[in-house]
């Protein structure tokens, strides 16, 4: 048990180090954006008819702490980030934690939902297709997975929009019905969210499903040919029992390992799908922050949060793998 705790602790420290490196990269990028927050804010004030001097800008810099050295500002930002505090948005002048709030959690739930969907489809279908010799089915699956690779999610979203407007006469956009948009959270609002969220979940899960399907199929076909499977079937096991008990358990390890990268892939598509489906969550906020207003504080916070969720997921899959796979467990407990 103690050794297991030590293993978990090492993994946690490694995850933290990754986050620190990522935060440095993200923070440096934010700093590279031409112009800083003080200039932005005062540029806004001049549009309101106030005369601004250089001294005013310097005073604003001191107020925001922008005159301190680079490393100190990074350290401050980092400690804030770990407490969920990202300061104020440059343009909107609102606290970022407040601004993101539930939006980030909605985005994360949608992405995790599509990850779940991807594997809920990929694991059974992949196992069946690896076990069966049905050429027609295997070829169809192959084409579907290649389409999943070639047709990025945002093109799929566009196509679905095209067909839904052509044939159903309505666009399946947004996350909430009008009456729930600004309402406080309630059961009815949650149900309304589910009614709208299936489409983004499906679209985001689309290429993840294709990738997962290929992985599961390849792993299973490797394992099925091995001798221990033949031995098990010689002992009289067959069908689903045989597949689930023997090769499927072996194939599970690499699948658990790849979850983090799948989430990464889903995050990649999030802002663009959000734009097409006019969702109002973190993805579109990121787009807004970058494309329209160059709001570096907000953009940095969102990228950091996305990466942090991937790192967290990676940490949990590492632990899960150690629990699930006796080989990994033994190598730790030795």
């Amino acid at each position: 048990m103690l050794q297991f705790g030590r293993f978990a602790a090492t993994r946690a420290v490694m995850a933290l180090i990754t986050l620190v490196i990522v935060s440095f990269v993200v923070f440096s990028l934010m700093e590279l954006v031409p112009g800083d927050c003080a200039e932005r804010y005062l540029a806004y004030k001049t549009t309101q008819g106030q005369a601004i001097t250089l001294a005013d800008i310097d005073a604003e810099r001191v107020r925001l702490g922008l005159d301190r050295p680079y490393m100190i500002r990074w350290a401050t930002w980092l400690t804030g980030a770990f407490q969920g505090e990202f300061g104020d948005s440059c343009i909107l002048r609102v606290n970022i934690a407040q601004l993101l709030g539930s939006k980030f959690w909605i985005s994360l739930s949608i992405c995790l939902g599509s990850l779940l969907l991807a594997y809920a489809i990929a694991i059974p279908v992949g196992i069946i297709s690896a076990a069966s010799r049905n050429a027609a089915m295997n070829n169809t699956l192959r084409i579907v997975s290649y389409l999943g690779l070639a047709m990025p999610n945002f093109l799929l979203a566009l196509m679905i929009m095209l067909f839904s407007t052509l044939y159903f006469g309505e666009t399946l956009t947004g996350l909430f019905s009008a009456e729930y948009k600004d309402a406080p959270w309630s059961w009815a609002k949650f149900v309304d969210l589910l009614k709208h969220a299936w489409l983004p979940i499906f679209i985001l899960g689309w290429s993840a499903t294709a990738f997962a399907l290929q992985t599961v199929r390849a792993l299973m076909s490797d394992e099925i040919g091995k001798l221990y499977v033949t031995a098990a079937s010689a002992r009289g096991l067959y069908g689903g029992r045989l597949l689930w008990r023997y090769p499927a358990r072996h194939a599970l390890g690499p699948i658990v390992n790849s979850l983090g990268f799948d989430l990464n892939r889903i995050f990649n598509e999030l802002p663009i799908v959000a734009l097409i489906l006019t969702l109002t969550e973190a993805g579109s906020l990121l787009l807004e922050a970058l494309a329209r207003s160059n709001d570096q504080q907000l953009a940095g916070a969102i990228i950091f949060l996305l990466t942090a969720s991937i790192v967290t997921l990676n940490f949990f899959t590492d632990i899960l793998l150690a629990v699930l796979d006796p080989r990994v467990r033994k190598s730790i407990l030795r």
Binding site: L29, A150, M161, I272
Partner: protein, 376 residues
Amino acid sequence: MTTTTENQKAKEAYFTASQGQLIWARFKKQRAAMIAAMVLAMLILSGIFAPILSPYDPTIAGRDADYLNGAPQIPSFCDTNGCSIRPFLHTVTRERSLATNFRWVETINEDERRYMEFFVSGDEYKLFGLIPMDTHLFGMSEGYVHLFGTDSSGKDIFSRTLHAIWTSLQVGTMGVVISFVLALIIGGVSGYYGGWLDSFIQMVTDAIRTVPAIPLFMAIAAFIPPEWTAETRFLFISMILGLIGWPTLARRVRTHLLTERNQEYVLAAQLCGASGGHIIRRHLLPSFTSYIIVDLVISFPYMVLSETALSFIGLGLKDPVNSLGVMLQNVTSADVLLNYQWYFIPVIFFVALVMAFVFVGDGLRDAADPYSEANK
């Protein structure tokens, strides 16, 4: 007797074949990959010769001011007045006024034919950016022909699609080359020297790999000052794609190097007094060139797709540079979805392009793996 000598010859050819010949022989056996390779070759050729194949200039200079948001026109050989060897179009007059409820209404004049002509001279262009020419494969005796219709400013979508393929190929190539050079340097150093340097580089690489790439693209692309020209943007975007795409490739290079550097031939070279750089370049890299080529082909479509995504949201390329993302920028409006569906025709070409790359990449990977035959 003759069959055995032929067998012998075939065997001899097999054993003396170079690496490239073996890969080609295995690649030819895969039907899907061969078809994909042909499609790919056709797309690449049509991209390279886009200025000749397309009837008009893809920029605002080649616009058809009388046919904005016009539907695709398919030349036909026959009509009610009989047939002709030359394909032709009918003259179309369009009207948009109070009488038509402000929508475009087209009246086709069946009696007036406009014939298609081949190798006509039209808009001027520079082939390969060097040779000034004005010959286009086809054109009309009078007026314009728009195979895929026109967009809101009257630009020919067919011409734009062909030029967009070329743009995507350029962006992809530049991105792949940049990320490849970075991956070779970083992965090479990391894998060859090992030790603490390797651990450190791997830690940084892994950290960068966890950052979702497209949001990061967006963050960097947002730095581009609005006053930059389209060409400078183009260069910068390809550079970003390369600068972010290296970690996966670098990791593969490192893994190969780690297994190879303990082989005897490396030791032999070291004993001869070869320097580290020399060994990496002359001995280690050739040992897995085929894997690297395969990796490059496989990572190509991701570069193209990233560029498309970036341009689509307005952070990537901009008019007058043509790319699929630029062409799709305004298609989400209800107006386009309901009335002008031909805006989506280029999508077919790009799905074909990416699919072809994926299939060829997969085929090459199987062909380059000397152990794949043993399994079959």
